[in-house]
């Protein structure tokens, strides 16, 4: 019993150890795509299209201009009309008199990016000092971080006077404490202390500001506070949306800002790199590369900032391995090339090894090639390998490459698998059509007809009691080739059927009896054309009409359609009733309405007693009652013309309320009147 427990324990321990070892040595496959020169040109054109010559700004505001200028300077493009933009920015800052922190932040950032700030003061120093002081002491988190960034940018450009420096510097330490105090339990940062919960945008801004403050202040107290924040970084990263390939936080701007903040924080605290590593950077890179098609200046800015942070960072910089081309002819296998680049398509100095090459059809089979180093080609910064001696047949192959960068500090090695297809033409050899009374006699020369590839057999009559066989081989470059789909098509003007050919020992064949083909061709006797159809992803599809046969069937022909042919359906509609002429209808309409004249003239004769029509409240009740009755009549008429019973009954129910009320009042009035008249009498 003890022995069994020991064995089980040792197995479990070995599994755990091997699992841990595997996770340590896991290499990533790099990124599948890069931000190419074309993409850079596209984004440059997009930014240029947003320039407004009248306002001398990008987009509609200083914020849009900040995004536009930010993109252009980061992709290394010169900003056209930079002097005009600087002038316009300074003018707007002057008008604002340093009161709006966001506007000042955008303006200072633009001037800094365009190098218009060196040694120049923004003016209104006193107001600027007050603004920075105020925001650092009592602003929201974003206002605090903007104030810090403005102060650092102006200090670096020496565009701030010593009085402001001496006023702001003491507040920085306090700013660190106040920013850290806004951290929620889940590691996110609130905007102000009274907020219920934090968000990722605030968190990104806080990380970046804390990193800058830590660099600047270099104090143990600040480092401790930063360490407190770093302890919660894993919770923040756990809130990301992750798939196998990509990782992102909410949207593009949040992802980019948070990556920027995290990598800045990693430069002041090594513990960050334990949480965000090579895998996460590659996943974020994949996400950013999927967002290439930007629709706003903000998205363009955040995309480029994110990509630039992926390209240069202290944790791990993504590598991409791509094939120069993925389809080769058998004669081109002496020069298979790959390129190894960073996220912006810049070549990376490294060594590339072909780990193994296996057929895509059977990836677990013995490798055709393994452990062969590729040669660097300085002319186009690619790596090449010659596999022409490996005798690769037509088909697809999985090439596993291992990239070992020279700069191991910034880049990690990757293992990447690419599919290479060897394509070419095929030929058909030994095409034979034979028939005999028995299957074992099919090999005899007497009843065998042979045809060369591309030619056609003359009509062959196959007796109904014989067995027939079509035999052929497919070859590529002199080697037998097994295609993915091979079929023989029997067709006549009336019938058509395709049957698969059977592959066995480097050759294909299809053997059939009269009964077999009777079943597939509906026992329709006559001449049939024979086509050979070959389909495969690695070759040009082939269809060859190689012969014609005559088949005779004793059985009754099966109709092509399983249903008997029917005559077309003709629909007989009921004849419309004969209608009377318009004049007759009109005459009877007048006749139907005419009795009303009897009623009216009769009233004149009998007389009406309108003098007894009530006055006062009685008059109002009576008129309202008559109005309600008229409304009911109109409602019913409306139902006939356009409405539905449901709507009509609902409206009728509503109308019944005043109708009953006024009816009751009116009738009570008449009743009282009658009673009083009787009493008088």
């Amino acid at each position: 019993m003890k022995l069994i427990i020991l064995i089980v324990l040792s197995i479990l321990i070995s599994i755990v150890i091997s699992g841990a070892a595997q996770s340590k040595i896991t290499t990533t496959r790099g990124i599948s795509n890069v931000y190419s020169k074309n993409d850079v040109n596209n984004i440059k054109q997009f930014i240029s299209s947003k320039y407004n010559a009248n306002t001398k700004l990008y987009g509609e505001s200083l914020k849009d201009t900040f995004y536009g200028v930010g993109v252009l300077t980061r992709i290394g493009e010169t900003v056209e009309s930079s002097k005009d933009i600087c002038k316009q920015t300074k003018e707007q800052l002057k008008q604002n008199k340093n009161t709006d922190i966001e506007l000042v932040f955008n303006g200072v950032s633009i001037l800094s990016e365009l190098k218009c700030l060196q040694g120049e003061s923004l003016g209104n120093e006193q107001q600027l000092q007050e603004l920075l002081k105020n925001k650092l002491e009592s602003g929201s988190l974003l206002e605090k971080t903007q104030a810090i960034n403005i102060y650092f940018t102006l200090s670096t450009a020496k565009a701030i006077d010593s009085k402001t420096v001496s006023a702001i510097d003491p507040l920085l330490q306090q700013a660190v404490s106040s920013i850290v105090s806004l951290m929620d339990e889940d590691g996110t940062f609130k905007s102000v202390g009274s907020d219920d919960e934090g968000n990722l945008q605030n968190t990104a801004a806080a990380y970046f500001a804390l990193a800058r403050l830590s660099h600047r202040l270099k104090s143990n107290e600040v480092d401790k506070l930063v360490a407190k924040v770093v302890n919660k970084v894993d919770t923040v990263i756990a809130s990301a949306d992750e798939t196998t390939d990509s990782l992102h936080f909410n949207d593009l701007s949040t992802t980019s800002s948070l990556l920027h903040g995290l990598l800045s924080l990693a430069s002041v605290n090594d513990k960050v790199s334990e949480t965000i590593g090579n895998k996460q950077i590659n996943q974020i890179s994949e996400y950013l590369l999927k967002q290439k098609n930007v629709e706003s200046l903000s998205d363009a800015y955040h995309l480029i900032v994110g990509l630039k942070r992926c390209q240069k960072n202290s944790i791990s910089q993504p590598i991409s391995l791509s094939l120069v081309k993925s389809i080769y002819s058998p004669s081109g296998l002496n020069d298979i090339r790959v390129s190894v680049t960073d996220i912006f398509g810049q070549p990376i100095e490294s060594s590339v090894l072909v780990n193994k090459v296996v057929s895509s059809k059977s990836p677990r089979s013995t490798p055709i090639l393994s452990g062969k180093e590729m040669k660097f080609q300085p002319s186009d910064n690619t790596f090449a390998i010659d596999v022409s001696n490996e005798n690769l047949k037509l088909g697809s192959y999985n090439f596993e490459f291992k990239v070992q960068p020279v700069d191991t500090e910034n880049f990690k090695s990757i293992t990447n698998t690419q599919i290479i297809t060897v394509t070419g033409a095929v030929t058909v050899n030994d095409m034979k059509l034979s028939y005999a009374p028995k299957a074992d006699q099919l090999g005899s020369q007497k009843s065998t007809s042979e045809v060369q590839f591309g030619q056609k057999l003359s009509l062959v009559e196959i007796p109904s009691n014989n067995v027939a066989r079509i035999f052929f081989r497919i070859a590529s470059e002199g080697q037998p080739y097994q295609a993915q789909q091979v079929g023989i098509r029997f067709h006549s003007p009336a019938r058509e059927a395709v049957v698969p050919a059977t592959f066995s020992a480097d050759a294909y064949s299809y053997t059939f009896t009269n009964k077999d083909v009777c079943k597939i061709l509906g026992c329709q006797s006559g001449n049939y054309q024979l086509d050979l159809i070959i389909g495969d992803q690695s070759i040009t599809p082939l269809q060859w009409n190689f012969g014609e046969i005559n088949l005779k069937f004793n059985q009754t022909t099966v109709p092509t359609n399983r249903y008997p042919e029917q005559l077309p359906i003709s629909h007989n509609f009921r004849q419309a009733e004969k209608r009377p002429p318009q004049s007759v209808s009109s005459l009877f309409t007048i006749l139907v309405l005419s009795p009303i004249a009897i009623f009216v003239f009769g009233l004149l004769f009998v007389g009406t007693n309108l003098g007894r029509f009530p006055t006062g409240m009685g008059f109002i009740y009576t008129m309202a009652f008559i109005g309600c009755i008229a409304s009911t009549g109109l409602l019913i008429a409306n139902y006939w013309l356009q409405s539905t019973m449901d709507v009509t009954l609902k409206n009728l129910a509503l109308l019944m309320i005043p109708l009953i009320f006024f009816g009751h009042k009116s009738m009570s009035y008449y009743s009282n009147l009658s009673s009083s008249n009787i009493k008088k009498d």
Binding site: F599, V606, M667, S674
Partner: protein, 120 residues
């Protein structure tokens, strides 16, 4: 005897009967006379609708039926009203004229809802 016989034979002539009828009818209350006028109106309308059906055709049949039901229904309801408010019938003790009129209106409302629903 002969005088009595000639008087009774005079009374039985058509003119005498009509004269007697109008004399008696002139004593009928005005309300009932107006109701009678309305009854004549609905009756004549019903007769014209039926004549159209006999002479021209029943198409559209539902419209014909609606019109005929409306006239017949109206006639029946008005007759009932007339019976109820006629002082000779002594209904006034149990049913007041106002109550009878209200019943008449309600029944007409239901009748015409049915008629218009059937009209199509």
């Amino acid at each position: 005897m002969s005088t009595t016989a000639s008087t009774s034979s005079n009374n039985l002539t058509f003119t005498a009967i009509v004269k007697s009828f109008f004399e008696s009818y002139s004593k009928t209350p005005q309300k009932l006379k107006i109701i009678d006028l309305f009854l004549i109106y609905t009756f004549v309308t019903g007769v014209i609708v039926f004549t159209y059906c006999c002479l021209v055709g029943t198409y559209p049949f539902n419209s014909f039926l609606s019109a005929f039901i409306s006239t017949v229904g109206c006639f029946v309801l008005t007759t009932c009203l007339r019976i109820q408010i006629n002082p000779i019938n002594n209904f006034a003790k149990t049913i007041s004229i106002e109550r009878a009129f209200t019943d008449y209106l309600l029944c007409n409302l239901i009748l015409h809802l049915v008629v218009f629903n059937f009209l199509g």
